[in-house]
Amino acid sequence: MAKVIMRIWRGDADGGEFQDFPTEVSEGEVVLDVVHRIQAEAAPDLACRWNCKAGKCGSCSAEINGLPHLMCMTRMDTIPTEEPVVITPMKTFPIIRDLVTDVSFNYEMARRLPPFAPKDPGPDGTYRMQQVDVDRGQEFRKCIECFMCQNICHVIRDHEENKAHYAGPRLFIRYMELESHPLDTNDRRELLRQEMGLGYCNITKCCTEVCPEHIKITDNAIIPLKERVVDSSYDPVAWLGRKILRRTKKTADEAAAYRRDPQRAKAGK
């Protein structure tokens, strides 16, 4: 048993302060275990989110000594305990209370994404895809939506005003997942360029570093997306190709219309 002081931020949108909780840590415990013990014994009203306690749901994101972590996957024996362990809520999102923040920005951005629109299935009514063709998408679908990449991204961490026109790393991997999906027919590249702020990212890779699923957000999603968006905007051959050849991907306007009303959009209205 090691003695440790947990210094936890307490408060709400109107402000708050740190509160110290002296506690003892047992072998194998993670930060969330200690927070739960504080709840049960000292502060039943201490607000924090959690669900699976196994790194699979992405609910318990917080900043531990200034860096984003899942509290359920951070073992106490990996943190120096001579000094108080400082736990604060994610900085990028508005405070609700204590360690709980309002992450609705991420859900709103997800709603603005033109949805998956598959091509028709094969003659037997099902799809055929090779493993090699789904590998890339599967990497992005490992995302547990902990929103730590959004939290660490300086485009919105330091500039609240950017939230209106910046989807953020979590959504960029979703866009790339669909972009590389063998069955999808929507083209979201113009939307990414014009409304989702892909250009704001200057590939510092902070998001990749904090991803608990080790998704290579910058290398495998953001950079390829930037290349594809540039190709579609400025490459005259690609432009001509789109004009001449039958398009399989929709334009940004069509994609947006599809999102608003798939039935009407399909009927070409």
């Binding site: 194998g28 039943p44 699976c52 196994a54 996957m73 997800a110 949805p115 090779q130 599967q138």
Partner: protein, 601 residues
């Protein structure tokens, strides 16, 4: 008059796991006004924890597979207590539900010819589980979440439902709850409601379940006058982590065994060969050579005993530990390291690799895991009509873990995710049909609303009183120690006494601060559900004087053929007490019976 907002919909779905999302999608596709209400954020429900896969007889890996074999496996695995019609619909419709997920963007692992890959699991004759590595639940919930969002489904996140209320003609018409961030009361009015609230495992000390699994749906249904069946049938998953203590109970997927992992005791022996029950003897290998050949040739070899249904494996592990052949931390060894390559293990079981590495400091490609039984799932639940998912209360539907019947006395791994899809959809159809046909209004007695609110807020108004966390701990100790994997009559009676005294203590719970994002208060409002549900589990366990599936009685160690034809039904009487009565299982048609007997190749 308390301050609250009332919102009107056609269909309200309570719960945003696989079943709830699938039900809401169905209602939205019909063009109805549908909303989802859930206790956590969208995408965090317990479905996300499911690892191994979704069972569906698509025949992609073994063309011999079909719905009839799946039906047979499900009924036999459930120790003949399952509802035949649910098992039939489930086996027949699962493949379509899986294919539909692909059309909504899911990316399953593939076979060489580009079809959906299927993996082996306990109790399934053929490799049948569609999967994505060992994170299938995440794929399922994300796909359904994205589909629901694409359909513009309204979602009320972090909202707890306290009570369902009926109109003067007895139809469920309103759900009263509060929004956790603010504590603000909200009343949902609708023409029909779907309960998809999942399980009850939070009331056990060692459990795979999260804080959400407090049995809210079971309790809401009971309080609304619905029937529940076979609540004693709980599943203890054979393989939970046992060390470190802080992660004790955490799920270790059955996929480890499906992909070649074996169980050994402290003497290094594959002990499962000593525990093959008569009912599965004809299809289970009795020696290691045959068991090992089976992975590549299912036709000429019988399955390894490590892949017996979960109830058998859990009891066997329990017995080995009791006999003094356990590991230092009171489990047994699960070994895949000596049987498969490191590369294979990391590809097939990435999240298990990650979980053991980060939480236990164990490299599963190099050393054995220590595992033991953990509370996982309730087979019993709300009594529903198989075709429509209607409960016995008008206007109320149920799907997923909260509903009873499909899995009988023991659920096969992989049958839960397919259950969510098949019956989530059917509940969505049932609730939509009901909403469209409903003629009565949704007015409820405002005094009833007031009293629900007052009861929920009472802990906030008491100056001093019991700490809700103390009550939760005492309940978990009671259920773990007295209503666990092996039960006995005298201990069950003791448990009921203990639950009754907790019911008195819960009336004195006090919490500090106000209602806005206050976990202490949230727990205080969950405790009534937990206590009601634990009462039902314990009463069912007392009444079922036999051992069957997940329900094992020390004092009645054998299955009783007569009780195998009985559902124990629980409901409230007029004075609000839980009554329990035996009722005959629905009679299985002869053509389906024949499938069980002929072995269904």
């Amino acid at each position: 008059m308390a301050d609250f907002e009332a919102i009107e919909f056609d269909v309200v779905v309570i719960g945003a796991g696989g079943a709830g999302l699938r039900a809401a999608i169905e209602a939205k596709q019909r063009g109805l006004r549908a909303a989802i209400v859930c206790k956590s954020l969208l995408g965090k429900a317990h479905t996300v924890m499911a690892e191994g896969g979704a069972a569906a007889a698509m025949g992609n890996v073994w063309s011999e597979d079909n719905w009839k074999v799946h039906f047979r496996d499900t009924i036999r695995g459930g120790k003949m207590l399952g509802n035949w019609r649910m098992a039939q619909l489930h086996a027949q419709e699962s493949p379509d539900r899986i294919h539909e997920l692909e059309a909504w963007g899911a990316l399953f692992d593939r076979t060489k010819d580009g079809k959906i890959h299927q993996r082996d699991f306990g109790g399934h004759r053929y490799a049948r589980l569609a999967h994505v590595g060992d994170r299938t639940g995440l794929e399922l919930i994300r796909t359904l979440q994205q589909r629901a969002v694409a359909l513009d489904t309204e979602v009320f996140m972090e909202t707890k439902i306290l009570r369902l209320l009926k109109n003067s003609s007895g139809e469920v018409s309103a759900a009263v709850g509060y929004q956790r961030p603010t504590g603000k009361i909200v009343v949902f009015k609708a023409k029909s409601f779907v309960l998809a609230t999942g399980g009850i495992g939070r009331s056990w000390k060692y459990s795979t379940n999260s804080w959400e699994s407090t049995g809210d749906g079971h309790a809401l249904a009971l309080w609304a006058g619905a029937d529940l069946i076979d609540m004693e049938c709980m599943q203890f998953h054979p393989t939970g982590m046992v060390w470190p203590l802080s992660v004790r109970g955490l799920l270790v997927t059955e996929g480890v065994r499906g992909d070649g992992g074996v169980l050994r005791n402290s003497e290094g022996k594959r002990f499962m060969f000593d525990y093959i029950p008569q009912i599965f003897a004809a299809e289970t290998a009795d020696n290691e050579d045959e068991a090992d050949r089976w992975y590549d040739d299912h036709i000429n070899n019988r399955r390894p005993p490590e892949l017996l249904p979960r109830d058998e494996v859990a009891r066997s592990i329990n017995a080995e530990v009791k006999a003094g052949r356990g590991t230092p931390h009171g489990g047994v060894y699960l070994d895949i390291a000596t049987r498969r390559s490191a590369d294979f293990i990391q590809r097939q079981l990435p999240s298990m690799y990650h979980q053991f590495k980060e939480l236990a400091g164990v490299d599963i490609t190099a050393e054995a895991m220590e595992v033991g039984p953990t509370c996982h799932y309730i087979m019993g639940g709300i009594r529903v009509d198989a075709d429509t998912a209607a409960s016995t209360v008008p206007g109320l539907f149920a799907a997923g873990e909260v509903a009873g019947g499909l899995h009988g006395a023991n659920r096969l791994g992989g049958n839960s995710l397919s259950d969510l899809l098949v019956f989530g959809r059917r509940a969505g159809i049932g609730a939509s049909d009901y909403a469209e046909g409903r003629t009565s209004g949704t007015d409820v007695d405002s005094a009833e609303i007031e009293s629900v609110i007052a009861e929920a807020q009472a802990p906030l108004t008491r100056e001093t009183g019991e700490n809700p966390y103390d009550l939760q701990r005492d309940l978990q100790d009671t259920m773990q120690n007295l209503v666990g994997i092996i039960r006995t009559g005298s201990e069950l009676v003791e448990a009921l006494d203990s639950i009754n005294s907790l019911k008195e203590r819960v009336k004195t719970v006090a919490v500090n601060r106000g209602p806005s994002y206050n976990p202490g208060w949230n727990l205080a409002t969950d405790l009534p559900s937990m206590l009601s549900v634990c009462t039902m589990v314990t009463m069912g366990a007392i009444e079922r004087k036999e051992s069957r599936g997940g329900h094992t009685r020390d004092d009645y160690p054998k299955a009783d053929a007569e009780l195998g034809k009985i559902n124990f039904v629980q409901r409230l009487n007029d004075s609000g007490e839980v009554l329990i009565s035996p009722e005959s299982l629905p009679e299985m048609p002869d053509d389906l019976k024949a499938l069980l007997e002929e072995g269904a190749h």
